[in-house]
């Protein structure tokens, strides 16, 4: 069995995939990777299904020893990784031999770094997903952040690289799904046996996918409750991410909105990236482990194409909001998905 042993967990490291949708009526939010773009690209580099589980590290990475040879990639923010003291670049696949140690440090850019492994991290799924929901202690590895001494099983490497982005099959399903179909293993796919041909993300293709500090938003369902003066404050000022930012939500510090629409209303369903204005007039952005319903007025909502950027925001980062139309939001998402599915995203190198 191939596995990863946690020698040190880092600040907050959890097993995450693309989350579990469809359980809102039970009060269960999707959870999943905070930066889905980073996890999806990492899985593409591995030839995994895009939804395969990886490790999400926060601000300070961990140290991991590998049992069995693996192909891995680090995506998201640069946590200064070394393999047996040799620096390892992000967004590039590399081979780890059995017994070798991968060490990550404090972040040099954004909040989160993903460790993706060919075959994916294998945990018992909860409601169809491997992702950890920290608040309720469900999913992932025993429903919690990783600790020293934890051992995580690595799945079998897919026989052929999954192509395209639409495939939602789990990595094990993928491995069995292609066997017997007569589809040979793709020559450019990462391969544990024999020579590993390094794959990396093209820097040029990556540029439009870089995390943003100016978040584009559409008007929230209570947008009209806020006075013109309130909206002016919201869109004209920079806000600072507070120390309490986590997977449930990001509290912001800065200029409070003038009195008016704050306070409570009848609780209603809330969407990912909703920006609610709590008592005191400061915004809170609801994130992947969000509450499913809430009773504060929402002035705006981060567009789908910018949700991954939220996952890279660190405490004290300065952000701004820019109003976008629903049509623009949709267009930006279509372009982003096109880029994520593009063949030009990944370049092969002679290893």
């Amino acid at each position: 069995m191939r596995a990863i042993e946690v020698l040190s967990p880092g600040l907050l490291t959890t097993v995450q995939d693309l989350g579990r949708e469809g359980f809102g009526p039970m009060g269960v939010s999707p959870s999943g990777a905070a930066d889905t773009i980073a996890l999806r690209i990492g899985n593409r580099l591995m030839g995994n299904a895009e939804s395969a589980a990886g490790l999400e590290m926060t601000l300070l990475g961990g140290t991991f020893q590998f049992q069995g040879a693996c192909i891995v990639a680090l995506t998201g923010s640069d946590f200064g990784a070394t393999l047996e003291s040799v620096a390892i670049p992000c967004w590039t696949s590399f081979e780890i031999k059995s017994g070798q140690t991968l060490r990550l440090g404090p972040t040099r850019s954004g909040a989160r770094c993903y460790l993706c492994v060919q075959g994916g991290i294998q945990v018992k799924p909860f409601l169809g997903s491997a992702s950890t929901h920290l608040l309720s202690g469900l999913g992932g590895h025993e429903g919690r952040a990783l600790r020293k001494g934890d051992v995580l099983k690595i799945g079998d490497a897919p026989e052929a690289a999954q192509k395209g982005t639409g495939k939602r099959a789990s990595s094990t399903k993928g491995a069995h799904g292609v066997s017997g179909t007569g589809i040979p293993a793709c020559s450019s796919s990462p391969n544990v046996d024999g020579l590993h041909r390094t794959r990396r993300i093209s820097a040029a293709a990556m540029k439009p996918l870089a995390p943003r500090k100016t978040l584009r938003v559409t008007p929230g369902p209570q947008n009209d409750w806020f006075s013109t003066a309130s909206r002016k404050v919201f869109y004209a000022n920079a806000y600072r991410v507070a120390e309490e930012a986590n997977r449930m939500g990001l509290r912001l510090d800065g200029t409070p909105l003038p009195e008016g629409a704050h306070g409570e209303m009848i609780s209603e369903g809330v969407s990912l990236g909703a920006i609610q204005i709590a008592a005191g007039g400061l915004p809170i952005i609801l994130f992947v482990e969000q509450q499913t319903t809430g009773g504060y007025a929402k002035i705006a909502n981060v567009i789908s194409a910018d949700l991954s950027s939220l996952g890279q925001l660190r405490p004290r980062d300065e952000i701004r909001f820019e109003l976008a139309s629903f049509a623009t939001a949709r267009q930006l998402l279509i372009e982003q998905e096109k880029l994520l599915a593009s063949e030009d995203l990944i370049e092969g190198m002679q290893g």
Partner: protein, 244 residues
Amino acid sequence: MPAKKSSGRASSLKLKKELSPRFEPASDQSLLIYFSHKITIEANEQVRKLLRLLELEALAGIRNLHPAYCSLLVKFDPLKWQHEKLEKELHRYLGCLDKVQLPEPRLVEIPVCYGGEYGPDLEEVASLHGITLEETIKLHSSATYLVYFLGFVPGFAYLGELPRALVTPRLASPRKKVPVGSVGIAGNQTGVYPFETPGGWRLLGRTPVSMFRTDRAGLSLLSIGDRVRFVPISRERFAELNRA
């Protein structure tokens, strides 16, 4: 797609007049449907009917549903749906609501040990209303509550309505940690905390029963539309049930 489209249109017009559901985009991947601007059992029944219909006759590209007191948030795949198109499709569903049969409500009894360390706000609530601890407990445990919806965290049921004499505003500043199983009140609602979370509801007691368990079919003890009654138990009985 809902069955019997033709008769659905006529009732859709009738429904518009009676309840006139209002649509509001919540984000580029979600749409809110409001049945009322105040909490009523009728509006909540419409929410439950639409939820049930969307569960029974699922629309491709709908990712999640968040029911609440008098609204339903529909989360969709933004590459497949746009608000206007979805709104049109949902009008067809709304037209069929009066034919939707809601399941017979279950009555679930939840044992509660009131007061003491389990209900740190019981005394204050009683004194706010000028009644005794016993009267407070009796008021809370004599009503039958409706599960309006589950939200906030997994398995948290919003129960209503609280007897008028118990309606109390939430705490001015929320607790950082509310123990698992705490039974609280806020405004005219009551509920049980399934997990240790922050919370601003006033705590009257605690139940030894798990509200959300992964080793149980259905996971959540309560489902939307259930009826709930709280049954006072002694500290000894709490300890017994807690061990079980």
